[in-house]
Symmetry: C2
Subunit: 190 residues, 2 copies
DNA sequence: AGATTAGCGGAGGGCGCCTCCGCTTCGCAA
DNA sequence: TTGCGAAGCGGAGGCGCCCTCCGCTAATCT
């Protein structure tokens, strides 16, 4: 379906031989669980154990820790792309807010994983491009409807909201208040 | 001078014996340098080597990595308190913006250190209290002047701006744009 | 000066990182 | 089906870091 998402699988690729492909999947699944439990600094040997493979196999498929983190992260980005597509039904002035709220909710729970992400990597750059590509039409629609000022671009919007998503909050009410403030900053001036 | 800052030194305390006090200072100074170079995950043995003391001495003074990170962090907070005090000369509607811009600039460079900070620690809580205490009058002044909406508190403001400070940006122009958006969100509605 | 005791520091056990290479098993072709 | 070459496996082992423990050193007190 989405050609955006298809770009993501290019760097670390799933091996073709049946046993190797099984191991690859087991590793990504184990990594998802262990990173969620212990954060991005989790033991790779623990991940290999959990996946039922040797540590050598982990390193053959994912030469660096970053490669493994990224493999998990790609899945998260795909979910955001789907969420952006889902806002098409909403009116233009509501769609951007809805997507961004979803964004914050999603990123907020994956905070530990994202902190461990190498922001210079190719995969990360691709993920960013894909995310921008999916959010851009939502922003453009809001701007065309006059709900959002014209002098911001999708990169500004995503980063402003990323900041709000990452910061620690007392409770959900404060998080909502912060998102509200950020969105108010996006409204046309005057 | 500021009673706010004085609260900060209470948890990890500097030993009284002359040699021990020297070692303590050398450790904090070495930690500042090594954390800045290698991030919060830097080797503690490297810090001890750099300070010219045994690893045992490091652990006696700073039983956990967090204790050492916090000792460095306290210095950063003190600088922000000074910056808040320095805005007193500015007009009410400029002072908050000035302080927050300073805040972002400062926190932006110490990003790696702050990521490693344990947000549940007593010292961190004290630092937060001190920072809020020094920023609160600046905010109140801006609100009294009608430059900032009344339904936000200092915690909202600091966290909104913390988010902007922590996020990665393309260049300084984008950072300025993001701060501008966040500050626009703080203006009175209507 | 001698006694007291706070403080020193590094050896050592444990763990995680990562490489290397002999062994296994897959998948193809006959 | 069988045989073979290559792709893939996995764990031993070397290294660095974490942290504790305790015999030794030297600062301070009298």
């Amino acid at each position: 379906m989405s050609t955006l998402v298809d770009q993501l699988a290019t760097v670390v690729q799933r091996p073709k031989r049946a046993d190797a492909a099984r191991n690859f999947d087991a590793l990504v699944e184990a990594a998802r669980a262990v990173f969620a439990a212990d954060g991005a600094g989790a033991s790779l040997e623990e991940i290999a154990r959990r996946a039922g493979v040797g540590i050598g196999t982990l390193y053959r498929n994912f030469p660096t820790r970053d490669d493994l983190i990224e493999a998990v992260y790609v899945g998260e980005v795909e979910a955001l792309v789907v969420a952006a597509a889902a806002t098409e039904k909403l009116p233009a002035e509501k769609a951007l807010g809805a997507w961004l709220r979803r964004f914050v909710e999603y990123i907020g729970t994956k905070h530990a994983l994202i902190e461990g992400l190498n922001r210079e990597s190719t995969v990360f750059a691709q993920c960013r491009a894909v995310m921008y590509g999916s959010g851009e039409p939502v922003l453009a629609r809001a701007q065309a409807a006059g709900a959002v000022r014209d002098d911001v671009n999708i990169s500004d919007v995503v980063r402003l909201v990323s900041g709000v998503a990452a910061v620690a909050v007392d409770d959900d009410a404060q998080r909502q208040r912060l998102i509200g403030l950020a969105l108010d900053g996006l409204r046309p001036v005057g």
